[in-house]
């Protein structure tokens, strides 16, 4: 199996699994316990917090563990807006945010907030000037993702943060797809809150974190416990958190080499396919995007058919929209960059990971053009 769907799910690194194992049987203690089992769990929690803080350059106490990227986004959007609602009730998000942010913002609207969605250009970039124009006296929160899961585009978050801060608003960024794949430094970005997920960096599923800058207020969304200094109730998922910490530590070490390798492979694949497949173009900015991430628009070739045909050949890829695959509706991100519904439904998402090899990429490069031709032939389309 050639696995090129790393953005949807990636295997847990064996070293991560090894770190987690003792916390699933031997060290089962809870950090709230006063006995030594509790102390051990607290120690494990602190270590993981330190490893994740190291990856994004923050203080340990600025990390809040959650059940994943979606919860981190919900906590940030609802929790920050509710904490600052006395200052104002206007929130700004980009049009290509993940559903974790967009749906949380929709809930805020039902609670009486006003939400402005900032459009993106045809490359999928959010222009800081457009954020500036959308700022109002009562704007309290701005959220723009660091890297898009669907088109991989990396946003000018630092510039947008400056604008948010000039207007006294807090800034959140969803770094779920960026964390572990490109350098993420909260000091440089200047953000007040940042979402992370373990599974997007070869860690276990069901675990994430929210960086919350010291001094930033938040209203907890899961209440009823003293865990995470009262900001997120519920017993901590210690095995997963230990794995998350280890995954973050490994990602930090591997990052530079990995970025170079994946960028070379995605360039190789893109060039190869572009010369062999007429009517192929890249969705999103050609260079400001995650290494190893290709969202391709292949005119007159149905996404689902391509995915299934590739699967039959032992190659796993995703349709253009990683999240909305089951809703059978065109991706909101592809529509936002100006693709038509038909173009969006002719898009293929190829995402590479640590295990991806040049041989695998060559195989896809050799196989996909024929499949596309077959598909177009069956559909009676001449290109």
């Amino acid at each position: 199996m050639i696995y090129l769907d790393h953005i949807t799910a990636s295997p847990i690194d064996p070293r991560v699994l090894e770190a987690m194992q003792p916390y699933m049987d031997e060290h089962f203690g809870s950090p709230v316990s006063l006995h030594r089992g509790g102390a051990q769990a607290r120690q494990a929690l602190d270590t993981a917090r330190g490893q994740i803080a190291g990856l994004i350059c923050c203080e340990q106490k600025e990390i809040i563990f959650t059940s994943g990227g979606t919860e981190s986004d919900n906590l940030a959007i609802k929790g920050l807006a509710q904490a600052y609602m006395k200052k104002g009730r206007h929130v700004i998000v980009s049009a290509i945010e993940s559903h974790g942010v967009l749906y949380a913002a929709r809930t805020l609207e039902r609670q009486g907030f006003t939400v402005t969605q900032i459009p993106v250009d045809t490359d999928g970039i959010v222009h800081p000037e457009m954020v500036r124009q959308a700022m109002q006296n009562d704007t309290i929160l701005v959220s723009v993702m660091l890297a898009s899961d669907e088109i991989g585009v990396i946003q000018p978050v630092r510039d947008i943060t400056e604008i948010a801060h000039e207007h006294g608003a807090v800034m959140h960024t969803d770094a779920v797809c960026a964390g572990g794949h490109v350098p993420v430094n909260v000091q440089t970005l200047g953000v007040d809150a940042l979402s992370l997920s373990a599974r997007s960096m070869h860690g276990p599923p069901g675990c994430g974190a929210l960086f919350l800058k010291q001094g930033t207020r938040i209203r907890p969304q899961i209440e009823g416990g003293i865990q995470e200094a009262g900001r997120r109730g519920g017993h901590e998922n210690i095995p997963a958190i230990v794995g998350f910490g280890r995954a973050a530590e490994l990602a930090q070490v591997q990052l530079p080499d990995q970025m170079i390798k994946l960028r070379q492979l995605d360039q190789q694949l893109l060039r190869g396919l572009a010369t062999r497949i007429p009517g192929l173009s890249l969705n999103g900015h050609p260079s400001k995007r995650l290494p190893g991430h290709l969202n391709l628009m292949i005119r007159d070739a149905d996404s689902e058919s391509m995915v299934l045909m590739l699967d039959a050949k032992g190659i796993a890829v995703s349709i253009g929209s990683a999240c909305a695959s089951h809703a059978s509706k065109p991706s909101h991100v592809l529509l936002a960059i100006g693709r038509t519904a038909r173009e969006a439904q002719s898009s293929l998402l190829i995402t590479m990971g640590a295990s991806t090899t040049e041989t695998e990429i060559k195989e896809v490069k050799d196989l996909l053009p024929d499949l596309v031709e077959q598909l177009r032939h069956v559909a009676g389309v001449a290109v």
Partner: protein, 96 residues
């Protein structure tokens, strides 16, 4: 919690102060529920020197009952407690 007792308790303990009191350190527990504000107060007081004043910001109304009780049982002095639009500001003096 019985709301009538709460109002009575509040009226008894809140001393209206027009100008905020001078404090050495501020602890912001906004958004955090009982017992977190008290846990954080205890940890913060531990790190301070005798005679210093801690300002605690909170929006969990439970603090109106919890802080006087904690100060009493731990021997620190609650100097003032102000409520404004559902947000509380409390001043605790470290006594030893």
């Amino acid at each position: 919690m019985d709301p009538i007792y709460f109002v009575v308790g509040l009226a008894k303990t809140v001393v209206s102060t027009i100008t905020p009191m001078q404090s050495d350190i501020t602890l912001d527990t906004f958004g955090l529920m009982c017992p977190i504000p008290i846990i954080k107060t205890a940890a913060q007081i531990k790190d301070m020197t005798t005679g210093e004043i801690l300002e605690v910001l909170a929006d969990d109304e439970q603090i109106v009952e919890d802080m006087p009780a904690w100060c009493k049982s731990n021997g620190h002095e609650l100097l003032d407690m102000i409520e404004e639009n559902g947000e509380f500001t409390l001043y605790v003096k470290k006594m030893y």
